[in-house]
C-alpha cells in the first residue's frame, strides 16, 4: 500500500449568476484548471438583497458556485482574468489554503 502525503494547494470558489457561468468555466479551462464542481441554485442574502435559490424556468438568474482547486500561480492568473469581470458585476471569489492527498488529480 502507498502512503498518502498532503500537498498544499489553493481552493477557489467563485459565485456568479447562471448567466455568467460559462464565462467563468471558459476562464478556468483556459487557465488549465483540470476540473471543477458546480453547485447550482444557491440562495442567500448579499448586498443586493435576498437571492432565491431554485427557479423552475430560469437558469440565468439564480446564483451558482464554481469550486476548483489549483496551484498558487494559477490563482493569480484566474484572479487577473476575473478582475475586469468583477469590476462590472456582482460576484464573489473566495481563495483558501487547502491540502490534497492526490496531487496528480489537480495538476494535469
Amino acid at each position: 500500500m502507498r502512503n498518502l502525503y498532503l500537498h498544499e494547494l489553493k481552493k477557489v470558489e467563485i459565485i456568479c449568476t447562471g448567466e455568467d457561468k460559462d464565462f467563468v468555466l471558459d476562464l478556468l479551462e483556459k487557465a488549465g484548471v483540470s476540473g471543477y464542481t458546480i453547485i447550482h441554485n444557491l440562495s442567500g442574502k448579499g448586498s443586493h438583497g435576498f437571492y432565491e435559490g431554485q427557479l423552475l424556468f430560469n437558469e440565468e438568474d439564480p446564483l451558482v458556485m464554481i469550486i476548483s482547486v489549483m496551484s498558487e500561480e494559477k490563482v493569480d492568473a484566474v484572479f487577473a482574468g476575473m478582475t475586469p469581470f468583477l469590476n462590472k458585476h456582482s460576484g464573489v471569489v473566495f481563495v483558501s489554503d487547502i491540502k490534497v492527498s492526490r496531487l496528480e488529480k489537480f495538476n494535469k
Binding site: D26, Y51, L56, N58, A77, V78
Partner: protein
C-alpha cells in the same frame, strides 16, 4: 504570452461584449431585448448608451409620436400629465414668468415640427434686436481647442480610433474594415452553402483566418504587406489584441469601451458569434469553433493593418499621434473636422479645404459666421416658439434667452421619454379601467364541453374570446411549452432543438420515432441489427426495428460510430418510407441501456458518453407527474376537469419567409408548440402518471378525461387536432361539436384580424389562406405587434374585455399558491419571455434600421444561418419593418410591458421582493408592475420602490367597476 495577461484580455473582451445582443440562427428566431445586458441600469440610461454604442434610437421621433397622437392613441390629458411630470423634474427654479406647461405642450404637438433647424434663417426673417443677436453670437462662439479635445474624448465613448480619423480626414476606414471583416467571418461561418470552403476552418477562426489573410489578394490590396507582416507575429488571438491596443497607445482605462465599440460595429455578426460561442454543442461550432476574442482580434488586426497603410495621414496612426496633432494644430484640425464631418457652415464649405494649410487666414471669420448663423437660427426658433403662447421675444433679456435655451436642451433630452410616458399611460388606461374583480360563480353553473389550454401569446387571446363566446368552453393561458422543458429530436431534422424558453437548457431529450410495420424495411433492419442486435426486443417493443434509426439521427455521434458508411443511406431510406411517428417520452431503465450498448467494441470513454446520452432520453414517471402537476397548478386547473382538454400549441405558416420562426412560439424557443403539446398530453394521459398526480400532488384527473394535443395556426387561425384515435368513442358527438365550434371561432378570429391586415371581413378567410401560401406575401400576419401587457390572473378579470390580441394572458389562481412558488415561477419564466418579446418589438419599432432589420424586401439569406440586406451587409437582427410598421407609421405602439398580477397585495409584494432580478426590472423601469387585489378591491402600482394605491382614471377608483 503570460497566462494572467492572456486571461485578463479574454475577460476584457467578455465584459466588452456583454452589451452585444445575441443573433440567433434564422431558423430559430428568439426574441430578446437588444439591450438585455443593460437591464441592470435604468431604461432611460440604457437607451442613451444604445444611442452612442449602436447609433440607434430608443424613442420614436417627435413626428412619429405626433402621428400616434393624431390617431388619438396618445390621450391629450396623458400628454399633459407627462409634461407636468417633466416640469416637476426640472430642479432649477426659473426666473422666467412663463406658462411652461403650455409652452412645452404646444411645441410637442405643433405641426409641422418646430425645431432650431440650421437653415431657418433662409426662410424666415429674424426680428431680434442687433444687440441680442450680437450677444448670442458671442455666446455661441466655438473654441477650436475645445472642439479638438471633444473629438479626442469621443474615442472610446462613441468613436473607435479609426472613426475619429475618418471624421478628421474624410477617409472611409470604417467601411473598409467592415467589408474585410464581413468577408472573413462570412467565409468562416458558412454552413455548407458556399461552393468553395474556407480552408483549415477546423483550426478555429483566428488561426484559419491568419492563413488566409497572409495570402488573400483582397487584404493585400487594402493593406499592402502590412497585414501579412502583422499576422505572422501572433500565435494566439489574445496576443494580437494586446499588441494592437498597446501599439495604438490607447489608455488602458478605455480599453473595454473601445472593445465594446469595436464589437458593436457589426453587431449582427458579433451577436451570432457570441451565440455560437455559448452554444458549444451546435454542430458547426463543434466543427469550426469561433469565439468573441478571436473575432475582436481579427477585426482589430485588420484595422491596425489598414490604419498603418494610410500614407497620407498627417499624424502617427495612434491615439497619441491623434492627440498630438489635435493639440498642436487645433485650428487646422477644427476646420478639417468641420469640413469632413459635415458640420461646416454651408456658405463656407467650398473655401475650407484651401485653408487647411493656413487656417489663420480664415478661422476668425469662420467662427464668427458659424456662431452668428446659429444665433439667428436659434432666435427665429425661439420667437416662433414663444409666439405660440403669445409672448414676444423682445420682452426677453439675453439671460432669459439662455435660460430658455438650457430648458429646451433638457426638454430635447427628455422628449422621447415624455412621449413614451404619455403613450404608455394612454394604452395602459384602456386595460386598467376595464379590468373586473373576480367572481366565483361562473364555471360551475354551466356545462362545459371542453377546456382548452392556449399559449400566453397575445395572438391566442382573440381566438380564446371567440371560442368562449360560443358558451361551452373554458380557456386557460400558459407558456406554450406547457411546462415541459425538453430538447427534441425531430425525425427529419436529426439534431436537438430546445423546445422551451431560452432561459433554460433542458436536460431531457424527447425523440420522434417512426411507427411502421412495413416489410420493406427489412433490409435496413438487418444493417441496424448488426450493430444493435436486440434493440427490438428489449427497448422499443411497440416499434419495429428501423425506428432505432430515427433515434440515431438525433445523435450523429452515435450514428457515425455505429454506421459510418451506411448512415446517410439508411437515413434517406427510412425517411422516405415513414409516415406516422410517435414520441419517446419515457426513460430507459439502466438494464435497457446496457442491453443496447453493452456488447459494442468501444472504448470506455465512448461507452460512457453514449450511456450519458441515453440517460437523457425521456422523463421518469415521477418527473412527468411533477411537470404536469406544476403546469396545471400554475393555471389553477386542479379540479373540475372537463371530459376533453385541448392542449393547444401554436405555429405560423408562410412561404418564402426568412422570419417565419419569429412568428412561431417564443416559449418553445422560436419553434412550433405542437410537440410540447403532444408530449404534455402523452404524459397527462398516462395512467401511471395520473396515479402519481393523485397520490403525490393531490390532483385527481377523472379516468374519462382525455387530453388532446392541438396546434393553433396563427396565420390562418385554423386549429388542427391530433391523436384523436385515443379519444373514447363516447365523445364522438362532443368532438364533432368541438370541431365545428373551432371552425366558427377561427372564422370570427380571421374576420377581426382581417381588419388590421386591410382585408374585407367578408372574404377574410379566403384571403388569409391565400397569404399563408403566397410566397411573395411580406406580411402573412401581424404577429405580436401591439403587445403591451401581461396579465397573471384568473380569466374572469379580462373575460369581458376585447384585448384585440395585444395582451399576454397567464391564468393564475393565487388561492392555489400558498407558498407563492407558482407566482415566482410565472414571473421569473413566462413573464421574462414576454418582456423580451415586448422589448424586441419596442426597439424594432423605435429604430427599425438600427435595432430592427429594415425592410424584408431587400433581405437575403446568407450561409443558411443569417439574413443580410442586399448581398453585402451586417447580419440583420430584430424584426423587419413589415412586422412593426404600416407604411411609415408604427403599427406597433412601442411601450414597455405592463405586468398585472391578481393577488393580495402583501402576498404578491412579498414574492416580488424575493425575486431580485424582477424587482430590478421594475425599479429600472423596464416593466411596469401592478397588483390587483380583489380583497382590498384596489390596484397597487410599483413606484419609487414602493406599492402605491392607484386608480386608473385619476379619481377615486370606482368600485362600481367591480362585480
Amino acid at each position: 504570452m503570460d497566462l494572467a495577461r492572456k486571461l485578463k484580455i479574454r475577460s476584457l473582451v467578455n465584459v466588452a461584449s456583454e452589451g452585444i445582443p445575441y443573433c440567433w440562427p434564422m431558423r430559430s428566431f428568439i426574441y430578446r431585448n437588444p439591450l438585455h445586458n443593460l437591464e441592470k441600469i435604468p431604461f432611460k440610461e440604457a437607451v442613451e448608451i444604445g444611442r452612442t454604442t449602436f447609433k440607434a434610437k430608443g424613442y420614436l421621433s417627435r413626428g412619429e409620436y405626433q402621428k400616434i397622437y393624431r390617431e388619438k392613441k396618445i390621450k391629450k390629458e396623458k400628454l399633459i400629465e407627462a409634461v407636468e411630470e417633466f416640469l416637476k423634474r426640472q430642479t432649477k427654479k426659473s426666473s422666467l414668468d412663463l406658462d411652461f406647461k403650455n409652452l412645452v405642450f404646444n411645441l410637442l404637438t405643433q405641426t409641422p415640427e418646430l425645431k432650431p433647424y440650421e437653415n431657418l434663417h433662409k426662410i424666415y426673417p429674424c426680428s431680434a434686436s442687433k444687440e441680442l443677436l450680437d450677444s448670442l453670437t458671442r455666446e455661441f462662439y466655438e473654441n477650436p481647442k475645445e472642439a479638438c479635445a471633444e473629438l479626442l474624448l469621443s474615442v472610446g465613448y462613441k468613436n473607435t480610433l479609426y472613426e475619429a480619423v475618418d471624421e478628421l480626414i474624410g477617409s472611409s476606414l470604417k467601411d473598409t474594415i467592415d467589408e474585410l471583416t464581413i468577408k472573413s467571418v462570412e467565409d468562416f461561418l458558412d454552413e455548407g452553402q458556399s461552393n468553395v470552403e474556407m480552408p483549415k476552418r477546423e483550426l478555429g477562426f483566428f488561426k484559419s483566418w491568419k492563413e488566409l489573410a497572409s495570402r488573400n489578394l483582397r487584404f493585400s490590396i487594402a493593406t499592402g504587406k502590412n497585414l501579412k507582416k502583422l499576422v505572422s507575429q501572433f500565435e494566439e488571438p489574445e496576443e494580437a489584441l494586446d499588441f494592437v491596443l498597446n501599439t495604438w497607445e490607447l489608455p488602458e482605462s478605455i480599453w473595454d469601451s473601445c472593445l465594446t465599440l469595436e464589437l458593436s460595429q457589426l453587431k449582427g455578426f458579433a451577436g451570432y458569434i457570441k451565440w455560437r460561442m455559448n452554444n458549444k454543442n451546435f454542430h458547426w461550432q463543434r466543427e469550426y469553433p469561433v469565439d468573441m476574442v478571436e473575432y475582436a482580434a481579427v477585426r482589430l488586426t485588420i484595422a491596425k493593418a489598414l490604419l498603418d497603410a494610410q500614407k497620407h495621414l498627417p499624424f502617427k496612426p495612434t491615439y497619441k499621434g491623434l492627440e498630438e496633432f489635435l493639440t498642436q494644430n487645433p485650428e487646422k484640425a477644427y476646420l478639417m473636422h468641420e469640413y469632413f464631418s459635415s458640420k461646416a457652415e454651408s456658405s463656407f464649405i467650398q473655401h475650407l479645404p484651401d485653408c487647411f494649410k493656413k487656417p489663420e487666414r480664415i478661422i476668425k471669420k469662420y467662427l464668427h459666421l458659424k456662431s452668428y448663423t446659429k444665433a439667428v437660427n436659434t432666435l427665429i426658433f425661439l420667437e416662433q416658439w414663444l409666439n405660440m403662447i403669445g409672448i414676444s421675444l423682445k420682452n426677453l433679456s439675453l439671460e432669459h434667452i439662455l435660460e430658455l435655451l438650457s430648458f429646451y436642451k433638457n426638454l430635447e433630452k427628455e422628449e422621447g421619454h415624455l412621449w413614451l410616458r404619455a403613450l404608455e399611460e394612454s394604452v395602459y388606461e384602456e386595460l386598467l379601467t376595464k379590468l373586473k374583480f373576480s367572481s366565483n360563480h361562473r364555471s360551475n353553473e354551466k356545462k362545459i364541453s371542453a377546456q382548452a389550454l392556449f399559449c400566453i401569446d397575445a395572438r391566442s387571446e382573440r381566438f380564446r374570446r371567440n371560442l368562449e363566446g360560443l358558451g361551452r368552453y373554458e380557456t386557460y393561458g400558459t407558456a406554450g411549452f406547457f411546462g415541459i422543458p425538453m430538447a427534441f429530436v425531430e425525425l427529419t431534422k436529426g439534431h436537438e432543438e430546445y423546445l422551451c424558453p431560452v432561459l433554460i437548457k433542458p436536460s431531457n431529450v424527447v425523440l420522434e420515432l417512426p411507427v411502421s410495420d412495413d416489410e420493406s424495411h427489412l433490409k435496413a433492419h438487418h444493417i441496424v441489427e448488426e450493430v444493435i442486435h436486440d434493440l427490438k426486443f428489449n427497448v422499443l417493443t411497440p416499434y419495429v426495428m428501423v425506428e432505432a434509426i430515427g433515434f440515431l439521427f438525433g445523435f450523429d455521434f452515435i450514428g457515425k460510430t455505429f454506421l459510418p458508411r451506411e448512415y446517410s443511406r439508411i437515413k434517406d431510406k427510412i425517411l422516405n418510407s415513414s409516415r406516422e411517428t410517435s414520441l419517446l417520452t419515457d426513460k430507459f431503465t439502466d438494464e435497457e441501456i446496457e442491453n443496447i450498448i453493452g456488447s459494442k467494441p468501444l472504448d470506455k470513454l465512448t461507452l460512457s458518453h453514449i450511456r450519458d446520452r441515453f440517460k437523457r432520453i425521456g422523463f421518469s414517471y415521477k418527473e412527468q407527474a411533477l411537470l404536469a402537476a406544476v403546469a396545471l397548478q400554475m393555471i389553477g386547473l386542479t379540479q373540475n376537469f372537463a371530459n376533453l382538454i385541448l392542449i393547444i400549441g401554436h405555429e405560423s405558416q408562410s412561404d418564402n419567409n426568412l422570419y417565419e420562426s419569429s412568428l412561431d412560439c417564443g416559449a418553445c424557443g422560436g419553434a412550433s408548440g405542437v410537440y410540447n403539446a403532444k408530449v404534455f398530453c402523452q404524459m397527462a394521459n398516462n395512467p401511471q402518471v395520473r396515479s402519481i398526480l393523485k397520490v403525490t400532488h393531490e390532483i385527481n384527473i377523472p379516468e374519462d378525461t382525455v387530453f388532446v394535443p392541438a396546434v393553433h395556426n396563427t396565420t390562418t387561425d385554423k386549429i388542427a387536432l391530433y391523436e384523436l384515435g385515443k379519444v373514447s368513442a363516447k365523445y364522438t358527438q362532443t368532438l364533432k361539436n368541438l370541431k365545428e365550434d373551432l371552425e366558427i371561432a377561427a372564422r370570427l378570429t380571421r374576420e377581426k384580424r382581417g381588419v388590421e391586415l386591410g382585408i374585407n371581413p367578408d372574404h377574410a378567410s379566403e384571403e388569409i389562406y391565400q397569404n399563408a401560401y403566397d410566397w411573395s406575401q411580406i406580411r402573412p400576419e401581424w404577429g405580436l405587434s401591439g403587445n403591451y401587457a401581461f396579465v397573471i390572473a384568473k380569466r374572469d378579470i379580462t373575460l369581458e374585455i376585447d384585448l384585440k390580441g395585444k395582451v399576454f394572458l397567464h391564468s393564475y389562481d393565487w388561492k392555489q399558491d400558498k407558498s407563492g412558488f407558482l407566482l415566482e415561477n410565472i414571473l421569473s419564466g413566462p413573464m421574462v419571455v414576454a418582456q423580451w418579446i415586448n422589448m424586441e418589438y419596442y426597439f424594432s419599432t423605435t429604430d427599425n434600421e438600427g435595432y430592427g432589420s429594415g425592410s424584408k424586401i431587400y433581405h437575403n439569406a446568407v450561409g443558411t444561418f443569417g439574413i443580410m440586406t442586399g448581398n453585402f451587409s451586417d447580419l440583420k437582427t430584430g424584426l423587419p419593418a413589415q412586422t412593426v410598421l404600416k407604411g411609415d407609421i408604427p403599427f406597433h405602439n412601442p411601450v414597455r410591458l405592463l405586468v398585472v398580477v391578481q393577488a393580495p397585495v402583501d402576498f404578491a409584494a412579498a414574492i416580488l421582493n424575493k425575486l431580485t432580478k424582477i424587482k430590478k426590472l421594475a425599479q429600472n423601469q423596464w416593466i411596469h408592475l401592478i397588483i390587483l387585489d380583489e380583497q382590498k378591491q384596489n390596484l397597487y402600482r410599483y413606484q419609487n420602490k414602493d406599492w402605491q394605491e392607484i386608480n386608473p382614471k385619476g379619481e377615486i377608483y370606482e368600485k362600481s367597476l367591480s362585480t
